[in-house]
Amino acid sequence: MSSTSVSAPLSDPPCPDDSHGDPILELEGLYHRWKGPKPPVLDDVSLTLRAGHVTWIGGRNGVGKTTLLRLAAGILLPQRGSVRLGELTPQSKGNLFRRQIGFLSAGDRGLQARMKVTQQLDYWARLAYVPRSRRAALVTGSLQRFALEEFAGRRVDRMSMGQRQRIRLAMAFLHEPRVLLLDEPRNSLDDDGYRLLNEQIEQAARRGATVLWCSPRGEDRVVTCDASYTLTDGHLERVL
């Protein structure tokens, strides 16, 4: 991960040479158009996410950031273009592709409301095919990394929005994916939560993962980044 810092939240960071680091996730010529007489939300979007790099994408509401992340995660399939993780694509060997992906959706959805926090994380670890031998350690580690130990036995629907966001983040990071796709990860987090999130992003980058962070506002971006883009009219533009 580069040491470039974003000191002023709303100013654009100087972008270093980001061509180092092996490519992990390659998005090429992505095109997506929603039903109806609208222009495509993504038109020939290409992006390479490299090992150890943190990338930020901004853009106004409804511009297509979430659609791009969903395509990158394999939740949506490209109408044109491709998503590749080495030899893997979401369409072929999809389960191997998805094992490498950690995804955080925007908002506060996707939790099993009446499960306890530990049950929630264990449930996700099993869905992610985390080997039995590592499961307990990774669940415990996730609780610690996002400071959730004191809530481990509490039901999710009895927790605050910020605490729920920490659980959602813990799930995205739990299985140590090579690709982390985060849609507005700072949502509802307090300062401590934000600090924990940044620590985990730095750690993930250090172990060679790539992180893609999307948010509409510059002030929400991660403190350090290797590349910044804005999405406008279906195209990605490098922020200088």
Binding site: W34, L77, M115, Q119, L127, A128, Y129
Partner: protein, 269 residues
Amino acid sequence: MSRMRPWCEAMWAIIRRDAILFVSYRSQIVAQFIGPLFSITLFYYISHVLTSKTIHSPGGYFGFVIVGLVIVQILTISMGVMPVTVRQELVSGTIERFLVSAHGPINGIIGTMLFPLINAIFSGALLLTLAAVIFGLPLATTAVLAIPVALLGTLAFMPFAFFLVALVMAFKQASSVAQFIVASIAIVGGLYFPISVLPGWIRWASDVQPFTPATDLLRHLIVDTPLAHPAGVELLKLVGFIAVLLPAGLLLLRASIRYGQRTGTVAEY
């Protein structure tokens, strides 16, 4: 086996998740146990005023209809609950977990069907037990053989559930279709009355779905109702329906998910 282990563990995780959810609503458990008792009582007294030469069960109409009630119970819980459950997964965003997990959306959705099916079979067994213990329904000595046949029948029902879930994935709603299917099966599958009383023009529908052989076999094994055809033939019919319908149902489900992923509607609700 090592490749199957994570798959089995993920399926177990989904069953456990749904069990946790189910028992967390205690009134739901009570309702599920009390509901069948009212149905049995109702049909017990109806059977007292009914005499029919077309029913040859040793237990009379009560013995005949009780097996139909078991199947209605299984259909209502499995088919009625399935589309609602998947719709809830869409609304709460938990389906996204399947879409980004190694387990994948199809396995995830099949997993969500398992607890309702186990629950439905358990409820059916409870209903039979109540009928035998409280109302003296004479169970045949072959009743225990109904368990493997019920499991086969469940496999035969699953494609219809896949169809309903595929509708939910594509169009976001299927509850009214589920009610229509259960009501249609109750009529042409002979759940409340023998299919021999149906007019000839509709009777063909009894032969082109798996519910009729499943119901006939279960009735034969549980309350000793005579079969129109040898048991082996009925069993072959059931297996044949499974062999044709199950892959077709899975393909339809896969196609509906892929459609949603391409158009972007998979995450809509």
